[in-house]
Amino acid sequence: MFQQGMVTPPLASGQALRLDAVTRHYESPGGTVRALNGVSLALDGGSFTAVMGPSGSGKSTLLQCAAGLDTPTSGRVLVDGVEMSGGTEAELTRFRRNRIGFVFQHFNLLPTLTVLQNATLPLRLAGKRVDRTQAVEVLTRVGLADRLDHLPAQLSGGQQQRVAIARALVAGPRVVFADEPTGALDTRSARQVLALLQEAVRIDGRTLVMVTHDPVAAAHADQVLFLADGRLVGRLAEPTAAAVADAMTRLTDQAARGRVAEGV
């Protein structure tokens, strides 16, 4: 379905995303919550990485810090070799616009905008020229050519997520982040969405980082990173669903034992 060079030519490889000793602490009434505890990683351009871990392991925080939606307490985030300066929200937004696409579990399409308007919204907000033909091409690739003027509420969950993927890809970002992109979908829609994300990597050369709890979804990636208590605790290359499930079971048991040992 994806043909080479339809959106932008494949991007050169090289480091697309790098995290140096990233920590994220929150103050809560019960004391300091260490959501991320010194995470370092480097991802090559054109790679597909899944991030997994028990709930509360800090996966979503990791994704949000890496995507500039949250600011790390300490450490550095580099996208495409450029350091994300933890400045104002406006500065972070401008940084994200050209480099980062994001796909959310709950789609986050604007209810007042049509499919085509939603897909081109990032371009309008960035003050760029909206190339309708190109936008229609992207939407055709995600299989929504006949839904351009529909509102999100008139679409199924799977269709909405495909609009969200088109929106994440339309500005040609180097890195695309996906937070449980199949979490709210049925099996068939989930497969379509994963295929689209995979093709964005294989054919367009985007770098994809996906948080998921589903071993089948994680098996679509080149590698799986495991996170527990805010630290990277393991890596699985060439994952299969069964191997991922095994690793997750071990990790969840360890976490449970750890909690018992700490008397929590």
Partner: protein
């Protein structure tokens, strides 16, 4: 069961009900304090003239106040019910029958309005006593008349407040629950408000009534001098209410007129057009109080200014009676205008708070906070510009006829600053309520603001 659900919903979302509560409270104070004039007028030992003045004051002025209160309550509660369309749809899909939902929403309205009416008793007592003092000071009521606050004030106050709140909730809730679950989920996202005959017919009656009173001023009351004042004064109230009822259609017309202009204004203009097109109901509920505020405020203030100038032109000093009429007019207009202003601010705060999620989605899609605020400002400016133009139009049915009667010219030879001041207040109230609330929404990080 339903009562329990209503109470739980009130407790969990106290913030959402504060707006409705405030409008109900101010409305109840206005109705109750004027109704206490009727109680006072029925007291023993009140002479006939004093009694008549008090009764007129209570029924005529109180009656107009009551109309405005009913209008405000219906629109405020209607807005809050529409904003909960998603929740209603979820309740329905969880197995609640439409009748249960209607009872729950009406139950909430009853609880909030009883609380508001109860809270209104003490301030109404004070305001009623102040009004009586004013009437005594201006010599319209004998000095010996004792203030009374009794059955009529309480009956009318509670009756109007609770009655209009419950009826408004029942009516809107029934509309909201009539559609199927699937459609109401879609409706929650698109929220169309159409201009139905239920709006057009009363709007036409009010507009024709306003025009008729305007015509009556220059015909039957042409040589009656100041006696034409109440006739002319009521014209702009009717016309403003008529136009306010047509708000959804007027928003659509404005969108069509300004669409091309706004499209050239970057992302903010583009988003404004889409918002006005798809959230007509939300924009309309903000437009209504702007029309009422500008229409009634401009109409009655210029009416009084024309009268003052006419009296000055005769070379005589103003009589005591004329002085009294002016004082009363200003008190009444002050209350009505303040009430419309509260309704305006409440509507904008409520509908902007409702957009927390939408603003977060915009930011996640790449909008800077400044772009979100620019969008809110553009929307506010379009609505307030439309509202003030329509309000000034509505005030014309009072101002032009009375100017002919008293000054023999259509356009009164009066300073424009009163009009400019009214417009300035409307613009300031609209923009500060909308932008202030949006600013508050933007303080939460976008990712956190997405949480339901």
């Amino acid at each position: 069961m339903v009562f329990w659900l209503a109470r739980a919903s009130l407790r969990r979302r106290a913030g959402a009900f504060t707006g409705s509560f405030l409008v109900l409270l101010f409305g109840a104070v206005m109705v109750m304090s004027f109704a206490s004039m009727l109680d006072t007028g029925r007291g023993t030992g009140v002479d006939a003239i004093s009694s008549e003045t008090l009764t007129t004051m209570g029924s005529v002025v109180g009656g107009w106040g009551m109309c405005l209160v009913v209008f405000a309550v219906v629109s405020t509660l209607g807005l809050s019910v529409r904003q909960r369309a998603t929740e209603t749809a979820l309740l329905k899909s969880a197995g609640a029958t439409p009748a249960q939902i209607v009872r729950m929403i009406a139950g909430e309205a009853a609880l909030v309005s009883v609380a508001a009416a109860a809270a209104a008793v003490a301030p109404s007592y004070l305001l009623g006593r102040f009004l009586l003092g004013l009437l005594k000071d201006t010599g319209q009521v004998a000095g010996g008349v004792a203030f009374a606050f009794g059955t009529i004030a309480l009956l009318v106050g509670f009756g109007v407040t609770v009655g209009s709140a419950v009826i408004a909730a029942l009516w809107t809730a029934r509309q909201a629950t009539r559609v199927s679950v699937a459609v109401s989920v879609i409706g929650a996202a698109t929220g169309p408000v159409r201009l139905t005959w239920k709006r057009i017919v009363p709007a036409a009656v009010l507009l024709i009534g306003g025009l008729y009173l305007g015509v009556l001023t220059v015909t039957a009351f042409a040589d009656k001098g100041p006696d034409a004042m109440p006739v002319a004064g009521q014209a702009c109230i009717l016309a403003s209410m008529g136009l306010a009822l047509l708000a959804p259609g007027l928003v659509r017309a404005t969108t069509a007129l300004t669409g091309r202009l706004l499209h050239g204004r970057g992302a903010a203009g583009y988003l404004t057009v889409q918002h006005l097109r798809r959230r007509t109901g939300q924009a309309a509920s903000a437009l209504m109080p702007i029309i009422l505020f500008t229409g009634i405020g401009t109409g009655i203030l210029y009416l009084q200014l024309i009268e003052n100038r006419a009296v000055a032109a005769t070379g005589y000093l103003r009589s005591n009676e004329q002085q009294n009429i002016q004082t009363l007019n200003l008190v009444v207009i002050g209350m009505i205008v303040v009430f419309a202003c509260i309704m305006l601010i409440n509507t904008l705060v409520a509908s902007t708070t409702f957009r927390r999620r939408e603003f977060a989605q915009l930011r996640l899609a790449g909008a800077t906070p400044a772009q979100v605020l620019r969008t809110v400002r553009t929307e506010g400016l379009v609505i307030v510009a439309t509202g003030t133009v329509l309000g000034v139009l509505a005030s014309a049915v009072t101002v032009l006829p009375y100017s002919i009667v008293r000054a023999d010219r259509w356009i009164p030879d009066l300073p424009a600053w009163v009009l400019l001041a009214i417009i300035a207040v409307a613009v300031t109230a609209t923009l500060s309520a909308a932008l202030g609330t949006a600013h508050r929404m933007l303080r939460t990080p976008a990712v956190d603001a997405m949480a339901p």
